[in-house]
């Protein structure tokens, strides 16, 4: 229990910090509302030309609300890790009786505990106001469970990008590539079934559909229990893969630090 207590403290501090940054939160909420407003107008216009997918415009607004909820809630931990490495603060973190990667993930969980409910409220209120309808409560609740898991996995991915700062002076280009891949291959603005076949095939070899399109499909249409289980298995498999990757990269990173110095 004491083992978990240390990480609980990290999470609590991160949550307080996220709460204190009101401007950041309001900014995210406003941006979220504007994006949903723009896309509700866009999908209404698309419907006049004939929907390219067998669904209503309102459902696609809820789909975007779902994907954006995940994207806008994930903290950008790679920046913090890069600064730790650049300033040399990492040397003080490593001897502590806590795992550096673990503390970062705990901070991510803390930040998410503040951002997720606030952004969920923004998403639901705005999407309802713009569409005048809401998906079934059961679908929303199932989606929420998967979305929380997806935000944790995305946070772990960003921690992995941050750890690359041990070798690269600036990890921003890597972050941009991963972020854009998440937007496109994850199906952030459009369901993947609208993509050309070859792009859908490429996407399914990456973790991105499991992070965005997979959970968001749950609010787009009724999913069979089998599909939900497949999504859970995919998220689980990618979580194991990313966890192993983090362990491997951090081990190499700390070894390179011990050999070359900070």
């Amino acid at each position: 229990m004491r083992f978990l207590g240390k990480y609980w403290a990290f999470a609590r501090i991160a949550a307080r910090h996220a709460l204190s940054e009101r401007g950041e939160l309001y900014g995210r909420m406003a941006f979220f509302a504007v994006v949903l407003g723009v896309f509700s107008a866009l999908w209404r216009a698309v419907a006049e030309a004939g929907m390219p997918i067998a669904t209503e415009p309102g459902r696609l607004v809820w789909y975007l609300a779902a994907t954006e909820w995940i994207v806008l809630s994930v903290p950008q931990l790679h920046v913090e890790i890069q600064e730790d490495v650049r300033r040399g603060d990492i040397a003080y973190h490593l001897p502590r009786p806590v795992s550096y990667v673990g503390s970062m993930l705990a901070q991510a969980a803390g930040t998410l505990s503040v951002r997720l409910p606030i952004m969920a409220l923004t998403a639901c209120v705005c999407a309802y106001l713009f569409t005048g309808r809401a998906p079934p409560l059961a679908a929303l609740l199932t989606f929420a469970v998967f979305a929380v898991a997806a935000t944790l996995l995305a946070s772990a991915l960003y921690v992995g990008i941050g750890l690359l700062a041990f070798w690269l002076s600036d990890v921003s280009p890597i972050y941009w590539v991963v972020q854009k891949a998440l937007f496109v291959l994850g199906g952030m603005m459009l369901p993947l079934e609208l993509y050309p076949r070859w792009l859908q095939s490429v996407a399914h070899f990456t973790p991105f559909p499991a992070l965005l399109a997979g959970p968001a499909q749950l609010v787009l249409r009724a999913s069979a229990p089998g599909e939900v289980l497949v999504l859970a298995a995919r998220l689980g498999a990618w979580s194991v893969f990313v966890a192993m990757l983090l362990w491997f990269v951090f081990r190499r990173a700390s070894r390179s630090l011990q050999v070359s110095g900070g």
Partner: protein, 264 residues
């Protein structure tokens, strides 16, 4: 006349210095340019997929969206690359960082705007020009119109940016608010004009002057009507003048900081 010529020479020198400073770290410069182009291509995946399935969107086809994105990205890119200080104005005002600029011989605003340059702005400018070329609305025979559209787009971005960030003279600690207003400007400028109606449309032609960034430039390039061109010039010039006027008024309220700093 001599004064204007001097000012023109100064602006050219400032822009040249900005470009040289951005190119000083060559690798980082090209990396940022390349990633910004990649970023913009990513944005376009949405439109490519959508227009593969529908022919037009309230009169907007893929060509119009190319032109819309092209004028907006190029206008924004040139401002960000040549007058990148606009995004830092709020902080300059709030933290008393205008002090070293006040004693310079040329207008303070020009120094403040030219004091920063973002290499990624060149990526936006390049991809904007490529998209404009792809639209088919930018040709050699209408080059003056293309230059007019780009100049007005950049002038509106700059003028609106100065207005938003100059709010710090009166309201203090407005950096976050100004940044969000600036981002709203970018967001709305990337979506077709016919999507927005009613009161929002009025806002997009006045308080948030997106119309002069991309909507009217697209109309000017597509329809080649004199009335649209004149409206665009008038609108963009008004926003630019409003920005300069507001900054000059605000400067009278500016209180110096206690931080020691040098300029140059």
């Amino acid at each position: 006349m001599n004064h204007l010529l001097n000012l023109g020479r100064f602006l050219v020198a400032l822009s040249w210095t900005n470009l040289k400073s951005a190119l000083a770290l060559r690798g980082s410069f090209w990396l940022q340019v390349a990633f910004m182009i990649l970023n913009n291509l990513t944005y376009f995946v949405f439109w490519w997929v959508l227009f593969a399935r529908i022919p037009t969107l309230r009169g907007y086809g893929l060509r119009e969206v190319y032109a819309l994105f092209g004028t907006s990205a190029a206008g924004f890119g040139f401002v960000y690359a040549m007058a990148g200080g606009v995004r830092h104005l709020g902080r300059f005002i709030d933290e008393g960082e205008l002090d070293p600029l006040l004693v310079q011989p040329k207008p303070t605003l020009l120094y403040a705007l030219g004091s920063r340059s973002q290499p990624s702005g060149w990526g936006d400018a390049i991809s904007g020009l490529v998209f404009l070329g792809l639209s088919g609305y930018a040709r050699l025979d209408n080059l003056p119109l293309v230059l007019l559209a780009l100049a007005c787009s950049a002038a509106t971005f700059l003028g609106a940016g100065v207005v938003f960030f100059s709010l710090a003279f009166w309201l203090r600690k407005t950096d976050m608010l100004s940044r969000h207003l600036w981002e709203l400007l970018i967001t709305f400028s990337l979506y077709p004009e016919p999507l927005f109606g009613g009161a929002l449309r009025l806002v997009l032609f006045t308080a948030l002057p997106v119309a002069f960034i991309s909507y009217l430039p697209v109309r000017v390039l597509r329809d080649e009507k004199l009335v649209d061109a004149l409206t665009l010039c008038g609108g963009a010039a008004s926003v630019l003048v409003a920005g300069a006027w507001l900054f000059t008024r605000g400067l009278r309220r500016y209180s110096s900081g206690s931080r020691f700093g040098v300029f140059g």
